[in-house]
């Protein structure tokens, strides 16, 4: 199995890679951990998916060689590659896929195995037609099903593992996937060491390689201090440092290290505004907020030019994203004018007041994004100039999960960092219809939005959906429902120049399946 990459560089098989990571997450039960920003790296090497989604959101075959769907997108047929096996020896056949689909949808809640959150709730059931054909049935049209199969939650696990109890699934070494690597050893909160699977030969064609991986082992080692991770790579003690501090990237590049800042598919980093909470129920205030943020300064100060200005509230690489930059330009004069119009007058201390109340914005910094606090501080300075008083709060992950919710009391702006594969997902967050997430706390009050939502959800084809999405983006930003900050780079990789050829998928995980390391 000669791959083009190898031939070009003259590099050879073999090599060990140490990847320094800031956390190894919590449980290893596949369903509960597959979407973890940390464990996702390991799952990406240990397991395969039915489809491959590349960095631009393009869907291509992987374990599923072909697929078909009926006209209203309620029935799908998947045709699987033959000869694929899990590392425990069992076959990755139609029955195995059905078992996976079932557990993705339902989990085993009594045991603590959760469903995969973003797996379509409209799933009805799946049938193994023959060893390589699976038919999947939905209760309602589900256009997002196919892209979801390339989503990081949808990892294929051996049916034997799926059948085992949760406490056994929690032991990573007992879980079998079909990926190019297997878990050689691991220790909770310490490291996971992966070893190459020699008989692997069903890689996704889209990455230009289908045979076994080149690197012998990949060790994911937990080092929680960002500066230590980077320094270890600088001093040659490790090969990759995950989540470095953006400020350091420029100098690291100049030292010859490879810096990768792949963007994932999903929403940009920004706020979903709570329109129920005064004064953000006033469109003028929201628009002032939209115009009062200097997004370029955020990139200049907190980030580097690797970060992109937000052009919409979804990342610009998502198919269907359109450029709304005009709506997001920094215009403090306009913001002040809007606030004046809305009746917020500047007081002596520079803070605007209306009816004796100060113009207050409470920000709950996102604990998952290291730079969040800095950005909040910077924005607080920017808004301060036009008369806003900004309060920043910081919680730990658990408390944040408890206190900070969309439309929560005390949460005027919920900070979003969220990936998705299919832009159609957007319809599900706008209102509370059909179990929607109701990000803006609008319920059913905004006719225009309801209308757009229904049309997008009901669209039978991508082409029909595209103009609707454009209209939606314009509307949401103009109304100031969503205040983008920057396009998000949630994953930053600082890598030794010896390591080459890694691939980033649609959710920005690095895969070293194709990578090689020179001596």
């Amino acid at each position: 199995n000669v791959t083009p990459a190898l031939a070009e560089d003259g590099a050879h098989d073999g090599g060990d890679v140490v990847f320094l990571i800031d956390s190894l997450g919590d449980t290893w039960i596949p369903n509960n951990s597959a979407i973890s920003s940390f464990q996702g790296h390991i799952w990406g090497h240990v397991t395969d998916k039915l489809l491959y989604v590349d960095a631009d959101g393009k869907v291509s075959p992987w374990i599923a060689e072909r697929w078909e769907q009926n006209d209203n997108a309620t029935e799908f047929t998947l045709h699987l590659k033959g000869g694929v096996t899990f590392s425990d020896g069992s076959a990755l056949d139609a029955a195995a896929v059905v078992a996976n689909l079932d557990i993705w949808y339902a989990g085993r809640k009594s045991e603590g195995i959760n469903p995969i959150g973003l797996f379509p709730k409209t799933y009805d059931h799946a049938e193994a037609v023959d060893a390589t054909t699976v038919k999947v049935f939905f209760k309602k049209p589900t256009l997002g099903f196919i892209p979801t199969l390339g989503y990081h939650g949808s990892i294929l696990i051996s049916p034997k593992t799926i059948a085992s109890p949760a406490s056994s699934q929690a032991d990573l070494s007992k879980t079998s996937g079909s990926g190019p690597y297997v878990v050689e050893s691991w220790k909770e909160g310490d490291y996971v060491k992966l070893a190459r699977r020699k008989d692997y030969n069903w890689g996704p064609a889209a990455v230009g390689q289908t045979g076994p991986a080149h690197l012998d082992t990949i060790t994911y080692k937990l080092v929680s201090e960002p500066s230590l991770r980077v320094a270890a790579v600088q001093s040659g003690q490790a090969d990759v440092a995950y989540n470095a501090s953006p400020q350091e990237l420029e100098s690291l590049k100049s030292e010859g290290l490879t810096v990768a800042t792949p963007r994932y598919l999903g929403f940009v980093n920004g706020w979903a505004v709570n329109t129920k909470l005064a004064p953000y129920d006033d469109v003028k205030v929201r628009q002032a907020l939209q115009a009062g943020i200097n997004r370029q300064e955020i990139i200049d100060t907190v980030y580097t030019p690797d970060w992109k200005l937000a052009t919409s509230f979804i990342q610009s690489n998502v198919p269907g994203a359109t450029d709304q930059s005009a709506l997001l330009a920094y215009n403090p004069e306009k913001a002040e004018k809007l606030l004046d119009e809305a009746g917020w007058k500047k007081g002596a201390d520079g803070v605007r007041v209306k009816d004796g109340k100060p113009l207050l914005l409470t920000l709950n910094s996102n604990p998952y994004l290291a730079t969040s606090k800095s950005i909040d501080e910077l924005i607080s300075q920017q808004l301060g100039k036009i008369g806003w008083k900004v309060d920043i709060r910081a919680y730990d992950v658990v408390t944040y999960g408890q206190k900070v919710k969309y439309g929560g009391a005390g949460v005027p702006a919920y900070e979003v960092t969220r990936s998705f594969i299919d832009a159609g997902t957007v319809a599900g967050i706008l209102t509370n219809a059909n179990n929607g997430e109701n990000w803006f706390a609008l319920d059913e009050s905004d006719k225009t939005l309801n209308d757009l939502r229904d049309k997008i959800a009901g669209a039978g084809s991508i082409e029909a959906r595209r103009p609707l999405l454009d209209e939606l983006q314009k509307y949401v930003l103009d109304q100031g429902y969503f205040i983008p900050r920057t396009q998000i780079v949630q994953r930053i990789y600082v890598q030794s120049p010896k390591l080459k050829g890694e691939v980033y998928n649609g959710v920005a995980y690095a895969s070293y399946y194709t990578a090689t390391k020179s001596e």
């Binding site: 200049d300 501080e377 910077l378 910081a394 730990d396």
Partner: protein, 281 residues
């Protein structure tokens, strides 16, 4: 533990400062502590920079005449941040000490004075508090009541209760056996009179240096908690927070070393003063 320790010279702090020969190191320590107190009371007198709003274009500058400690990642003057962060650092350490001294003191006082089952109950309570590593306890408590510096201070104080209770108790027992306590009894003193007027003042004399010591220790514990992320949200600039933020920017080492040195200098001074108090007492 000899009777001689009761016969030590009680003098006021002022008396000690003016009357006695004070070693130069202690004078320096007092100066440093005074400066820290001045920083916390009137930070504006010591710096013209704004600790919250910086000039983003001037981020991460090295120490210079304009910026003594350099600037941070958002272009704020680090010296100003240190100066403005003093109040919170000092106040939180005070809160911790007050909680430890008051709660521990009361427990120790009651246990030592009344003895019997009161003592047994309190002694076990203190044992339990003592058995749980104090930093673990602080981490759990601060998680339970929420992340901010005041809560970290409360957690630190709670974890110091056992120490003060123990010392207070043994001091009270020592004092309670002193002849002058029995003598006050003969002179018509009631239990409460003896407890408040004789036992408490005498027992607290050795608690004072300990409290001073604990003040320094609390600064460190609270800084450690901040280092682990259990501190105030931005734009607060407690010393521990500054070190914690700085450690992510080790390319610009002054972000760590400037606040660290300020912390060390302060704690060292406080320790020195405590040692001196103990000696002169």
């Amino acid at each position: 533990m000899t009777l001689a320790s009761l016969s030590s010279t009680p003098t006021t702090l002022v008396g000690r400062l003016t009357g006695l020969r004070v070693p130069p190191v202690v004078i320096l320590s007092f100066l440093i502590v005074t400066l820290a107190i001045a920083w916390s009371l009137a930070p504006g007198l010591f710096t013209g920079y704004d600790p919250v709003n910086g000039t983003p274009a001037q981020k991460l500058l090295g120490p210079s005449a304009a910026h003594w400690f350099g600037t941070d990642h958002l272009g704020r003057d680090l010296y100003a941040r240190v100066v403005y962060g003093t109040a919170s650092s000092v106040a939180s350490a005070l809160i911790a000490v007050v909680i430890g001294v008051v709660a521990g003191g009361i427990i120790g006082l009651l246990a030592g004075f009344f003895g019997g089952w009161v003592d047994t109950v309190f002694a076990r309570l203190v044992d339990v508090l003592l058995a749980i590593p104090k930093f673990l306890l602080a981490v759990i408590v601060v998680t339970a009541i929420g992340f901010d510096t005041t809560n970290a201070a409360i957690a630190t104080g709670v974890s110091a209760v056992a120490l003060f209770a123990r010392v207070m108790r043994s001091e009270v027992i020592k004092t309670r056996q002193a002849t002058f306590v029995e003598s006050s009894f003969l002179l018509g003193g009631s239990r409460w009179h003896i407890l408040w007027r004789h036992v408490l003042p005498n027992a607290s004399r050795s608690v004072l240096p300990l409290a001073v010591l604990q003040f320094g220790d609390s600064i460190l514990v609270i800084a450690s908690l901040a280092f682990l992320g259990y501190g105030d949200p931005p734009p607060a600039s407690d010393w521990g927070l500054l070190i914690s933020i700085g450690k992510d920017y080790l390319k610009w080492p002054w972000l760590v070393y400037a606040p660290a040195l300020v912390t060390i200098a302060t704690v060292l001074s406080v320790n020195r003063i405590s040692r001196w108090l103990r000696k002169t007492d």
